[in-house]
């Protein structure tokens, strides 16, 4: 009996070892480990909306002063938290131009947290992950 346990265990271990040996990649941080000293304001065209748990993602094409287009990702709260604030899936769609205020991710990637989102109709919603310890109202808009 114990030898079949050992055999089953070895098979399982081999499977996991194969899983472990496959290429890995450190994921971008899901938690709000963003740098509160680096506020960012992005104005761009939505190219992709991920209305997902544990975090939503809004992908923007942002045109720089030099005309160059860069793609940014804005990480927001899950659908439940967003809808509780009156921000629903149908409020935005691909192609819309939105303004997102947030803070730069510590990982250094083109990622900010979607602390404040200004929708095409001018409505402002809080997109950030609740209770993430970041500044409550988000960065003050640059004048």
């Amino acid at each position: 009996m114990s030898s079949s346990v050992v055999r089953a265990g070895l098979v399982a271990l081999l499977a996991v070892a194969a899983f472990g040996a496959a290429p890995t990649r450190a994921h971008h941080s899901f938690s709000a480990m963003y740098d509160a000293k680096k506020p960012v304001r992005l104005t761009g065209r939505l190219t992709k909306v991920e209305w997902t748990n544990p975090h939503s993602y809004f992908h923007l094409e942002v045109k720089g002063a030099d005309g160059k287009i860069t793609t940014w990702a804005c990480e927001g709260a899950g659908p439940g938290a967003l809808s509780r604030r009156g921000f629903n899936k149908g409020d935005i769609k691909v192609g819309d131009t939105i303004v997102v205020d947030g803070y730069l991710a510590r990982s250094g990637g083109k990622i900010i947290d979607a602390r404040r989102i200004t929708l095409p109709n001018g409505r402002v919603v809080s997109g950030g992950t609740p209770g993430d310890g970041g500044p409550q109202a988000g960065p003050a808009p640059a004048r």
């Binding site: 941080s29 938290a81 509780r84 609740p130 993430d132 310890g133 409550q136």
Partner: protein, 154 residues
Amino acid sequence: MIERIFVRLGDTAVGQYLASSTAAFATVESLHIVALAVIGGVILAANLTVVGWILRGSKASAVIDQLRGLFLGSLVVVALSGVLLVAAGPYKYYTNPLFPLKLLLLAMPLGIHFVLQKRLRTRRDVDTGARVLAFGSLFLWSGVVIAGRWLGLI
């Protein structure tokens, strides 16, 4: 005044460090959960004994006595790691209504625990009142865990 305590906590060196280091924060949070699992085991074992579902041959007060060391030890770790988590980002807890609820839900079963212990010692071990207290305790502890999880979700 309470706000000032939270702000001061956030200004501590350890609070600042935890706010700036993802790995350190994740470590403290993991420790919080491990200690939570341990204290959860103690609470389950103690209260289910009082209720009479497990360790039926034993005196409930004796079982609780034997679990006291681990209960206090894990409680200290949970509390300390909890304070550190708040220090890493005090504003979020200060403004979240679920946080005081979680603390209230925590205070109640702790209070029940002392009442229950006294009751078990002064009476001939377990009676209906003790069982009710034990059930209530389990229910409230579950509330602490649930409130803790939903803190970051509302």
